[in-house]
């Protein structure tokens, strides 16, 4: 194994860390956007809670999604991982600029498939099927969760005759608790998008901390989590205010339902504990797949729209998401393939073993 110095390691990790920063800047808004824009929670509190719980989620439960991506393709050099993450980041950037629906999860999958093609490695079709099937399930499940939770919340508030001011107070408390859960789920589910491709080529070694061992994977997750935290603190406030007031105007209670529903979806597709429970009940395990938190949010909002009137559902939006599922991985795979070629032939770096 070639030993790399720290600046080189950081340079190669930079594309993943940029993805982390971008995730913190954008996806944190899915968790705390409504709470902050409606001034139920201050940005400072939201940013602190979000960063802490994203980090915990990433380090404690981030392995599942990364393992699934690993099954799709073992990007086995640091330079190759750098290009895969960079391709995903650039695809996300350009598609966002072009106003097309995009998800980091889909871009990273495309990037890995591009690497598989370039390195002439077979793509595990069953893993790909699992991943794509989960993308399809994500907004639908979020929609189902939000319908159930929204009806439950409405029933509770009507039956319990809660004073408007106490309703406000409890909504505030739950926005914090559910926001923390949402941040944890986001970290657990999406950290694989940020540093998952670097796992097979991780330059780090396991560190024994006495009481527990910090694995090389967890060191990567920690770095990714820090990058997400930096994204939250440096850029998410603007996005939170846009999400909360621009695209769809949600009341604090409906915002709470949306965050809870979408976070539950991210949680069920990344929780080891839930899988242990399912196995103990002789039920099939759920795959651990990195998902798009934005698409989960869209599904949850549509669910609330359906509770009021089926005509509130914008099926064109679902159609656009569907197009994104095809367009994003294909674009990312092509970008990845081209960049890998340049990295190998122009910069003379080994992009696969």
């Amino acid at each position: 194994m070639v030993t790399l110095n720290m600046p080189t390691i950081l340079f190669f990790l930079s594309s993943g860390l940029f993805l982390g920063w971008s995730l913190g800047a954008n996806d944190a808004a899915n968790v705390f956007g409504t709470a902050v824009s409606s001034r139920m929670i201050s940005f400072k509190s939201a940013a602190i809670i979000c960063s802490i719980f994203v980090l915990i989620g990433a380090v404690v439960s981030g392995a599942g999604g990364a393992h699934t991506l690993g099954k799709l393709g073992q990007v086995n050099t640091l330079a190759g991982s750098f290009i895969v993450a960079l391709s995903a980041a650039l695809t996300v950037l350009f598609m966002t600029k072009a106003g097309l629906p995009v998800s980091t999860s889909q871009a990273i999958v495309g990037g890995i498939i591009g690497w598989n093609f370039f390195a002439d490695k077979a793509t595990d079709v069953s893993t790909l099927q699992t991943i794509v099937g989960t993308w399809f399930l994500c907004p639908l499940l979020a929609m189902a969760f939000s319908i159930i939770i929204y009806q439950g919340v409405r029933f509770f508030y009507k039956r319990m005759r809660v004073h408007l001011l106490w309703e406000d107070y409890f909504t505030r408390v739950f926005l914090l608790i559910i926001g923390a859960f949402g941040a944890y789920s986001l970290g657990a589910n999406n950290i694989a998008n940020v540093v998952g491709v670097f796992l097979p080529s991780s330059p780090f070694v396991d560190v024994n901390m006495g009481l527990f061992t910090f694995s090389k994977a967890q060191i990567l997750f920690l770095l990714g989590g820090i990058a997400i935290g930096v994204g939250v603190f440096t850029y998410s406030q603007k996005v939170m205010l846009t999400v909360g007031k621009g695209i769809f105007r949600l009341s604090p209670i409906t915002g709470l339902v949306v965050v809870f529903s979408s976070s539950l979806v991210l949680f069920v597709f990344s929780s080891k504990g839930l899988n242990y429970l399912l196995v103990s009940l002789s039920l099939p395990k759920l795959p651990h797949v990195p998902l798009s938190s934005s698409q989960a949010v869209v599904g949850a909002v549509l669910g609330i729209g359906m509770c009021h009137n089926i005509r509130n559902v914008d099926f064109r939006l679902l159609g656009r998401i569907l197009i994104g599922w095809i367009l994003t991985p294909v674009a990312s795979a092509i970008v990845s393939f081209v960049f890998l070629y340049f990295m190998q032939n122009v910069f003379m770096s080994k992009v696969f073993l």
């Binding site: 409606s38 139920m40 009507k158 408007l164 001011l165 106490w166 107070y169 505030r172 009021h308």
Partner: protein, 216 residues
């Protein structure tokens, strides 16, 4: 969060006291009008003082509630609606105070045949205020009941309209023995008493919109 818990508890308490005080002013108003027409002027003056105190108290509570809601950034979604209710419902006590003070200062000479109608207006106004407070309380506590209260407020407002029209028709009837000055003075007091239920109805008109907003 613990700070907000305490503040919330405080404002909920203030709102309850605010509504109790307005309702109390409504009860006092009816008794004051009765005392005036029954010639119990000493007791009437005491009631005027109590109404004066109640009005000062509601003003103070209104200011405190507004300040607390704003400074603690509570109810971001329905703050405007709540403050509009608090502002407009406070006009009820202002109007009650204005009416009883007018009676106390101007001491209008209301003929015997019209006194019953005046007392009835005061009774219906009191009932209207009770229902109005019920509507406001249900807006905060149990939104599903608010419309029933609003319906009853509209009923009492209409009853007061009917009564005041009856008085005016009697006053201005052909062959009426009242002088023009007496006619105008009586009409002035009838119009003034009518304003309480008009305010209550205006509050309910706003409230019914807020109820729809909260139900969605």
């Amino acid at each position: 969060m613990f700070g907000v818990w305490g503040k919330t508890k405080l404002i909920v308490g203030d709102l309850e006291t605010f509504f109790d005080t307005i309702q109390g002013a409504g009860l006092l108003f009816q008794e004051a009008v009765k005392d005036y027409f029954n010639g119990e002027l000493e007791r009437f003056e005491q009631r005027v003082d109590h109404i004066d105190t109640a009005e000062a108290k509601t003003d103070e509570l209104r200011r405190t509630i507004k300040k607390q809601i704003y400074t603690n950034m509570l109810l971001p979604d329905s703050r405007g609606d709540v403050l509009a209710i608090v502002e407009t419902i406070d006009d009820v006590t202002d109007e009650i105070k204005f009416i009883v003070k007018s009676f106390a200062i101007e001491k209008p000479d209301v003929p015997e045949e019209l006194r019953g109608d005046f007392i009835q207006i005061a009774e219906q106004s009191k009932m209207c205020i009770i229902e109005l407070i019920g509507a406001c309380r249900s807006f905060f506590n149990n939104i599903t009941e608010a419309n029933a209260y609003i319906g009853r407020v509209n009923f009492y407002e209409h009853e007061v309209d009917v009564l005041s029209e009856r008085i005016k028709r009697k006053v201005y009837a052909e062959g009426s023995t009242y002088s023009l000055a007496e006619k105008n003075n009586l009409r002035y007091f009838v119009d003034m008493m009518e304003r309480i239920t008009n305010i209550a109805q205006a509050v309910c008109d706003r409230l019914s919109v807020f109820v729809i907003k909260r139900s969605i």
